[in-house]
Amino acid sequence: MNDLLFWIGGLGLALIAEALLARHELLAYGAGWRASATKLPEGVPYARGADPDRPPDAYLVYLDGIGKFRFRDSRDGGRLVRALLDRAPELRVLGQVQPYSPLAEPLAGRPVWAWVRRRVGLPLFLHNVMQTFVAADHRYRPLYSRAVGSQIAAQLRLAGHRPGSGVPVVLLSYSGGAQVAIGAVGELDARLHAPLLLITLGGFHNGTGDLGRAQHLYRLTSARDRIERVGTWIFPQRWPLYRGSGWNRARRAGKITVHRLDPATHVGPRGYISPKTRLPDGRTHLDRTADTVVALIRARYSTSTATDPLP
């Protein structure tokens, strides 16, 4: 019993410490104590894909799930971004955005986290979970959304996007990245003056955010995605009863379309981005997800490639 209390108490203290650390970054950004980073490490491009000398059909910004620790990779090893680049050479793809850092600093490079991880064994993803909570909290949300929206806009500018050029921007978000993507819509609309399209993959978000300023939101989901379902249960703004929420207003305005990716799960070997599990048609889950994303974008914005039917 004492051991159990010790572990519960220890975990509780770790969570509180983590929550304070996670929010401190937002305060440092908001108070202007530290500036948001825009420069990428050597060898990391601002975008990949379409030729930078001419405008692409669209810019695709990938906002990863809580496994995002570095500029380059993610928990899936960057496979989804790679699959999208292979299928849609007409897009310019940005995979370096840090959805869980208002200061645009990847977690893996911070000395304090390396120290904590070595000594306490605290999993790094806990930090990103907490940042998702910060992004969803009404007290911190406006500042957090502004911070990440600014970060995305800055990275797009460095990747060649010109505000007012009319080149569309697609935010593809996975899991907790959806909270950040939906929150950033207002800031991006104000800064980019470009058509905005959102695609959520197993999106975990609280149903706030001004989707009226986006053209459309495609929700890729599955009946076996328990994590996304938890989000629809725990956030009242996602309930149909909460008619005034951003999510429900967008739904009534016909701005949300659901695409089922059954029987994929949220994560794991049967997850949306699994390269192992195959469907009856021979494609992997990763193939199908990438095909669907590309088809949705082409259906709206393609000027150079024949539009494929939605898989």
């Binding site: 929550a19 202007g32 104000a190």
Partner: protein, 161 residues
């Protein structure tokens, strides 16, 4: 300084941190000195409110008890006050207000038992007195807090767009 006073000061600082941190996040551009000042002021105010909680609950209990004993039979002990040091949980993202409420309910339940024994009233009546005292003090300090914020907001620089 007695351990209870130290604990109440720590609790006040913790409560103030829980309230000031979200506030600072909503007022971008606040200098560190301003945030630290708010934190210290809040620590004394919230510490005083915590200190007044048993006294107010005892006063209410005297009103409802048939034959109240003289003096104040309810005071903080280190054991009762210690959980209040976790009040900063209020700033915890998303779940903070719920955790904070649970913490105060737990501490209030701890106060109800000695109050019931000292005042000779039932546990539920004592719990009602503790709850009423807590809500009343909380509402009073919140009103003062909002007034101070409204006054300090006048002439404050608008956040950058």
């Amino acid at each position: 300084m007695s351990p209870v006073v130290v604990l109440l000061l720590v609790a006040g600082l913790s409560e103030a941190a829980g309230r000031v941190l979200p506030l600072a996040a909503r007022r971008p551009g606040a200098p560190r000195g301003y945030v630290a000042g708010l934190l210290l002021l809040g620590a004394f105010v919230d510490g005083a409110v915590f200190a007044l909680w048993p006294l107010t609950a005892w006063t209410l209990a005297e009103l409802v008890a048939a034959d109240p004993p003289p003096g104040t039979g309810l005071a903080w002990t280190p054991g009762l006050a210690a959980p209040l040091a976790l009040s900063a949980v209020l700033a915890f993202p998303l779940l903070g207000p719920l955790f904070h409420l649970l913490l105060l309910i737990g501490v209030g339940a701890g106060l109800a038992e000695p109050l019931a024994a000292a005042a000779g009233i039932g546990w539920w009546t004592a719990a009602g007195c503790v709850a009423l005292a807590g809500v009343g003090l909380g509402a009073a300090v919140e009103a003062v807090r909002r007034l101070v914020m409204a006054i300090s907001a006048i002439g404050a620089p608008r956040p950058a767009a």
